[in-house]
Amino acid sequence: MQNAMLSQRLLAGVIAVFAITTASVAAMAQSSLTNQGGDQTAKEIERYRQALGDGNPAELWEARGEDLWKQKRGPKNVSLEQCDLGLGAGMVKGAYTVLPKHFEDSGKVEDLESRLVTCMVMLQGFSYIEAKKNPFGGPDNKSSMEALVAYIAGASRGLKMNVSGKQPDEKRYYELGKKMFFHRGGTHDFSCSTCHGASGQRIRLQDLPNLLKQDQAQRAYTTWPAYRVSQGETRSFQWRLYDCFRQQRFPELEFTSEASIALTMFLAKNANGGVMNAPAIKR
């Protein structure tokens, strides 16, 4: 089913390329010439990325997140160490690979961020408002959420994504997320699929993974959260979606909203089998 859809899309892509290049033979000759320049650029960008890999400031977030996880906080003055992230209370290692997941205690499908909110409310006694207050850090504003996310994701490094998606609500979320992926709207007619529905595409010099193809979905999902050098911040997957929709010219995606989790379910499950390598470092 999935494969049929993919090959259909690939075929459509091929047809589109032909339609474009039939404009004129001269244009084709021109484009192959300029592509050589493009390859050189791509090679240099690759060198830049490798040089970045040399030291990842996300480590600073991971260290802070580990402290926050163990620190007694909130009205109940307890740590998060008894939080069940999906593999049982206190199990951090590998937890990121099974999320999003349906939790009996909350009755909801939760991704890592919404699960942390639940634990902060249920274990530590924070209000929902308090727990969701500062999801994304900025200059002189440290987000506890992003630090916790960096620590927990980091504890799944080297482990394979393994989202179940079998529970009925998980299945529903997957389907809703898929619908959302193709939902065009706004001033620019963009959907997620505009940029992430075909292979070999890039915006400016940034490669755009085709999130409908397993290998690319794996590579993309397993490198979030990530330190963004353009922002000097370690960003969570919730932030990745939030900022994609901003650039898509959509209204503001609410932190840990149902739509954000449904879309994460769709993308995480498509990445099953991919080996986690986050927090990564990106431009």
Binding site: P57, L60, A63, P139, G232
Partner: protein
């Protein structure tokens, strides 16, 4: 106040490979905040790395060093277990010192 540095000092042959990651805004003094006000410069000005009481590297930095700076270099004359001590001071007078023992390659 500031987060601890991450320091790695690994003995490769007779040389110690040092990598340091620091948590600092490295504000240039040119950026404007959302309200259009210039954010004052705030950056690390000096860095000193010592081992066994001897300075193995010192540096002066301007605001053009990237946020959350990294630094790597090599020195000789130390063994596994010796401590590498890194200190920085910024233009507001804030300071931080962290240390890490030299380890064997894993």
């Amino acid at each position: 106040m500031s987060d601890p540095m991450r320091i790695r000092a690994i003995l490769n042959g007779d040389k110690v490979d040092v990598r340091v990651l620091m948590a600092h805004e490295m504000e240039t003094g040119q950026r404007k905040d959302a309200a259009g006000k210039v954010v004052p410069a705030h950056f690390i000005q000096s860095v000193t790395v010592t081992c066994k009481g001897k300075t193995v590297l010192s540096a002066q930095w301007g605001p053009a060093i990237s946020k959350n700076p990294t630094l790597s270099f090599k020195f000789s004359g130390a063994k596994v277990g010796d401590k590498v001590i890194v200190s920085w001071t910024d233009n507001k007078g804030d300071k931080r010192t962290d240390e890490a023992p030299i380890t064997a390659p894993s």
